[in-house]
């Protein structure tokens, strides 16, 4: 039985993406004769077979001469079945590529050998790694137009490596010199580039490890649906977001925090001895606990964070910009809750990858934000778990999906109902104290000022989870900047500040 590999393709217009996919499909014999007849008819004018037409899109798009979305293609070899999320390069790019990348294990980044690494190539690699893709195949295309020259290829590899090193936790890289048009190193090894010892693209796709989608966290089973045919049966149905589960395992149910054991894993074909992510399962527990959709079964020793506030990177997908204070609906695993973006920390310039200040996020922009939901969510950082670390934002009026987010860290406050507090002592600068209190309140923190020297965030009486103290000398001069700095220290929670 073969495995499934999902990949996405990234490249700017005319880098040869359609031709490359067409070549993969054609050379792996996935193209039907009637489809070929169709493209032969459409190619009529110029001689050769235009493989890019195989991935030609919808009528509305053809009429406008653009492609507007993500298209999915399928092909299989005896070793693997492949799902390609094909995201055409144009101005809607960020949104489409994020969509395609969200379910992909791997991304093929196309680079035109004549042009080398362009700002767009960086953008593609950045979005792919932002969405958690762990393998990049860098296809240096149109090698035929640079005389299959080794030095051109190596220069591009070096250039790309320098840039990718700037991305934190960069994905694994495989550079492949190809000509999509001529078929070099796509499915078959090219005799024209004997200096290249690596695998052709298809061989790489067939052998890159997929099980490596390893989650750094234990059992997470968001309860999706409760199956209750009669009084005697109560099955908790859902798709495992990570980890494995066996009969007899101890599990904790969130948010109640109660623990019990797994009685059985029920399927139509009989009980299972084990289930693991990403299987869809039905779990019966030893004890009759009140569990419903939106709850989560987790491993006792390795629980997600339970939080209402978190920092996330969002990709904005709607014409109406993201602004603070506006109400959205947030869907995370099987929970949907009212939520708001309470702060936009910065926007990422996707050409330069620089952070810049922003009052709003527009369509196709990416930014770091603080989100606050109306109830607790059980989250992991996205880099540890794609499913408990991701969410979408919906507009409650238009019902559209307006944003997609990746959680970076849970933030202090409202952790599982148990209050977290931060105590800060600021000597001799009452104005800073009050400015900071206001800033925190605006950002949704509950603030209690206990004295004019110690600021206490969180319900009065809660023990501080973080203590910060600042030397007067550091605060003198620019109170606004000082407030900004302290504010970030607090919401980042956990950072230590020496004075």
């Amino acid at each position: 039985m073969s495995e499934l590999l999902r990949f996405t393709t990234a490249g700017s217009v005319d880098d040869g993406k359609s031709t490359l996919i067409g070549r993969l499909l054609y050379d792996s014999q996935t193209v039907y004769e009637d489809q070929l007849a169709g493209i032969r008819k459409a190619t009529k004018a110029h001689g050769g077979l235009d493989l890019s037409l195989l991935t030609d899109g919808l009528r509305a798009e053809r009429e406008q001469g653009i492609t507007i979305d993500v298209a999915y293609r399928y092909f299989a070899t005896p070793r693997r079945k492949f799902i390609i999320a094909d995201t055409p390069g144009h101005e809607q790019y960020t949104r489409n590529m994020a969509t395609g990348a969200s379910t992909a294990h791997l991304a093929i980044v196309l680079i035109d050998a004549r042009h080398g690494v362009l700002p767009q190539s960086r953008r593609h690699a950045f979005i792919a790694s932002l969405l958690g893709i762990r393998h990049l195949a860098i296809a240096v295309n149109k090698m035929d137009l640079v005389d299959y020259a080794e030095d051109v290829f190596h220069a591009i590899c070096a250039d790309f490596k320098t840039f990718i090193a700037q991305i934190g936790d960069p994905p694994g890289l495989q550079f492949i010199p190809v000509s999509a048009l001529c078929g070099d190193n796509v499915v078959r090894r090219s005799a024209r580039m004997p200096w290249y010892n690596g695998p052709p693209l298809l061989e790489y796709l067939e052998t890159v490890p997929v099980a490596a989608e390893r989650h750094a966290v234990g059992l997470r089973l968001p309860v999706q649906y409760v199956i209750r045919p009669d009084q005697d049966f109560r099955g908790l149905a859902g798709q495992l977001a990570s980890g494995a589960i066996h009969p007899g395992d101890e599990v904790v149910v969130l948010p109640s925090g109660r623990s019990t054991r797994v009685h059985s894993l029920v399927t139509r074909e009989g009980d299972l001895p084990e289930a693991f992510a990403p299987m869809s399962v039905t779990v019966c527990l030893e004890d009759e606990l009140d569990v419903s959709r939106g709850d989560m079964l987790v491993a006792p020793g390795d629980q997600p964070m339970s939080t209402q506030r978190f920092q996330a990177t969002v990709v904005w997908m709607n014409e109406k910009p993201a602004t603070t204070g506006r109400r959205y609906l947030l869907k995370h695993t099987t929970q949907t809750l009212p939520a708001a973006i309470v702060e936009i920390r910065h926007r990422v310039d996707i050409q330069t990858l620089d952070a810049e200040t922003a009052g709003e996020l527009r369509l196709n922009e990416i930014g770091a934000v603080v989100v606050e939901a109306q109830g607790p969510l059980f989250v992991d950082p996205y880099r540890c778990n794609r499913f408990t670390g991701s969410f979408i934002l919906l507009d409650p009026l238009s019902n559209e999906t307006v944003g997609a987010g990746m959680i970076e860290a849970a933030l202090a406050d409202a952790v599982d109902g148990a209050a977290r507090a931060v105590a800060i002592s600021i000597e001799g600068h009452p104005e800073i104290l009050w400015l900071l209190a206001r800033r925190l309140v605006e950002a949704g923190h509950r603030v209690a000022v206990l004295s004019n020297q110690v600021l206490h965030v969180g319900p009065a009486g809660a023990a501080p989870g973080l203590e910060l103290s600042f030397l007067s000398a550091n605060l003198a001069g620019d109170p606004v900047r000082a407030v900004d700095e302290i504010f970030h220290q607090i919401v980042r929670h956990g950072a230590t500040l020496e004075n």
Binding site: M1, S2, E3, L4, Q29, Y32, E33, D34, D56, G57, L58, R59, E61, I68, D69, A71, Y72, R73, Y74, A76, R80, K81, I83, A98, S102, T103, A211, Q224, Y225, I227, R228, P229, F233, G235, A237, G238, Q239, A244, V266, T267, R268, A277, P278, M279, S280, T282, R293, M317, K331, T334, R386, F387, S390, F391, I392, L394, N399, E400, T401, A404
Partner: protein, 301 residues
């Protein structure tokens, strides 16, 4: 320790079951379009698995144009009774009484009345806010970009430019009154996956998929089944041809293919060899370039 990797069929199954449960949890009145074909058979099996040991928590809906194969209707009734599914059959009686038929109207118009119109009416009559369909993205070009959740306005129409982005396994199920979502749990399955799964899971399918000698009208490259008084062109006569159906629809529009494949392994072997796309034999998709897309805009699945 076992290597914790799923086969591609297990991965597809897990994903489809997730979709089925998500819809059952988030919509008020889901329904499953049941076309009697192989894809429907797989979709129904996945629904049985998703909710086991409870029965499937929504009804099946068959749009009966009255031009289906007799064997299909027999299979439908037996199958639904066996699995204890609630079946709704809807036919556009009005149009039939007014004399609608494929031979007179042509396939475009006939489909519009007996399938699309009938479907929209049945969905409205049932007040269904979500309807599962067994369509796959590999079936046809315009389907390649279809979402798993395909949003339809209050006229059931599809606007390719106004679809919601779909990331991870998070689906947006918000609709206003009158609007609905068509849901395609088999989006990522290919025709070959379907057959492999049918074999693996031992899923019953209509015998028309298996090759045997059948009476056919041979018209050019096409084999047209002799049912429902198909009018013969001058010089045509019925012949027995060893053939099978690759996809099932109404008899006048379902071309058969010449084949010796009378068992599942033979069908799968044939599938691997095939160099022709599945819907090629469907008369309706060839009426006009981009015709599937036009039909979908009007409310077809």
């Amino acid at each position: 320790m076992t290597a914790r990797t799923l086969t591609h069929l297990q991965a597809l199954e897990a994903e489809s079951i997730h979709v089925l449960r998500e819809v059952a949890a988030e919509f008020q009145r889901p329904v499953m379009l049941y076309s009697i074909g192989k894809d429907s058979s797989v979709m129904v099996r996945l629904a049985q698995k998703a909710f086991y040991p409870a029965p499937i928590p929504f009804p099946l809906l068959h749009i009966d144009t009255s031009y289906k194969f007799r064997e299909m209707v027999e299979f439908r009734d037996r199958f639904c009774a066996e699995i204890g599914a609630r079946l709704i059959v809807h036919t556009n009686r009005q149009a039939l009484d007014d004399g609608a038929n494929p031979f007179r109207l042509g396939t475009q118009k006939c489909c519009g009345l007996l399938k699309t119109r009938a479907l929209l009416d049945a969905l409205a009559a049932g007040g269904f806010d979500a309807a599962f369909g067994g369509a796959r993205r590999d079936e046809e070009k315009s389907r390649a970009k279809e979402r798993v959740y395909s949003f339809r306005d209050s006229f059931g129409q599809w606007d390719p430019k106004n679809q919601r982005p779909e990331l991870w396994n998070l689906f947006n199920s918000r609709v206003d009154k009158g609007e609905s979502i068509r849901v395609f749990p088999l989006s990522n399955w290919t025709e070959l996956d379907i057959w492999e799964y049918i074999q693996l899971e031992n899923i019953p399918v209509v015998p028309l998929y298996f090759a045997q000698p059948r009476p056919m009208v041979v018209r050019g490259e096409m084999l047209i089944p002799v049912e429902h008084d198909i009018p013969l062109l001058p010089g045509e006569k019925t012949q027995m041809v060893m053939c099978r159906m690759r996809s099932l629809g109404c008899t006048p529009c379902t071309g058969a293919i010449r084949s010796q494949a009378d068992t599942l392994p033979k069908i799968i072997a044939e599938m691997r060899e095939f160099r022709r796309s599945e819907r090629e034999n469907r008369v309706i998709d060839h009426d006009q370039e981009g015709s599937m897309e036009l039909k979908k805009r009007e409310g077809y699945f």
